[in-house]
């Protein structure tokens, strides 16, 4: 497996090169201080993995991802925790490392990339890979918190935020219902109202135009009711 590193900070590149040499079998074939040079390189060469900084002058990491065709697996490396949600919207991004990188976290990210590479053939059968993803991460007060999808009861849109209610805790996150809807497995979750997505396995009962989930009564819009009824295993 080979990789390239793209980061405008020489310090960051040096640290990653050291980690890769010390703790992995990956070969660093090149490192770049800007994304444009990396794009030129990728036009001529194939790589398995890219370590990519987000904040770079003129051309950000996300600009880079959108520019290259068929991006390989990417590990984002950044001092900014605020892009976690956006990051995981890209299929190619396998992990998100926050600087300063620690050895353990780095190794874990690389192992994840290797695992995804070796499972690439099964991914081709299921390009979205949704069946393999059981969790997502949210950014709260500079912490990335893992949420098991199955633990989510409901998601409610509240202006620029979404309110995620799980079995144990509730979270308010700056995001949209559309973004989280795309992340959640379609067989488990259903948008029943313009402001609500529900976990259909958590329904306690249904009455007219509402469903009861835990202690919450969720409205069901007329347009979404037929799909909800279709999902039920009616006697």
């Amino acid at each position: 497996m080979n990789c390239i590193i793209i980061d405008d900070e020489e310090m960051a590149r040096a640290i990653m090169i050291q980690f890769i040499a010390n703790y992995t079998d990956i070969e660093v074939v090149a490192d770049f201080s800007n994304a444009i040079e990396a794009i030129k390189f990728l036009n001529q060469n194939e790589v398995d993995l890219i370590f990519l900084d987000i904040h770079m002058p003129n051309f950000t990491g996300f600009d880079f991802i959108q520019t290259i065709k068929n991006p390989p697996h990417i590990i984002l490396v950044t001092s900014d925790r605020n892009f976690a949600i956006e990051a995981f919207e890209y299929e190619c991004i396998v992990d998100y490392l926050v600087k300063p990188i620690t050895k353990d976290r780095f190794i874990k990210a690389v192992q994840k990339a290797i695992f995804m590479k070796t499972n690439a053939s099964s991914k081709e059968v299921n390009p979205k890979g949704e069946d393999n993803v059981n969790e997502f991460y949210i950014n709260i007060d500079r912490r990335l918190i893992k949420i098991e999808m199955a633990s989510v009861n409901i998601v409610e849109a509240k202006g620029d935020y979404i309110h995620i209610k799980t079995d144990g805790k509730n979270y308010i996150v700056h995001s949209t219902l559309k973004k989280i809807e795309d992340k959640l497995p379609k067989d488990l979750f259903l948008k029943v109202h313009r402001s609500f997505i529900i976990n259909t396995k958590k329904i306690i009962d249904i009455e007219d135009n509402s469903v009861l989930i835990a202690k919450d009564v969720i409205p069901v819009s007329r347009a979404n009711r037929p799909e909800l009824m279709k999902r039920l295993n009616l006697l």
């Binding site: 900070e9 020489e10 310090m11 050291q18 904040h55 600087k99």
Partner: protein, 105 residues
Amino acid sequence: METPNLNYINELSGDNEEFKIKIIDILKRELPVEVQVYQEEIEKANYTQAAKAVHKLKHKVSILGLEKSYYIASDYEDNLNGNSVALKNDFEAILKAMQEFVIQL
């Protein structure tokens, strides 16, 4: 106020003295350049660009073991993005401590 230290760099380097020297050498070269970029943008009151410079400097703040200062830098970056210079003095005191520390390495 926190004192800069080499704990992270030492941990990173282990017994690889050559790597440690390399990292310190990069630090000595990159830090003054990044500080200068920050100062120029602040003088021009170009706060969005200054925020980008602070963002870059944040990595050096954490590399020098300044855990609490990192959060000051983060908040200052947010302030600059909102066109406010609140925490400017605190952040610049951190920069001064870092520069004084690095120059002695």
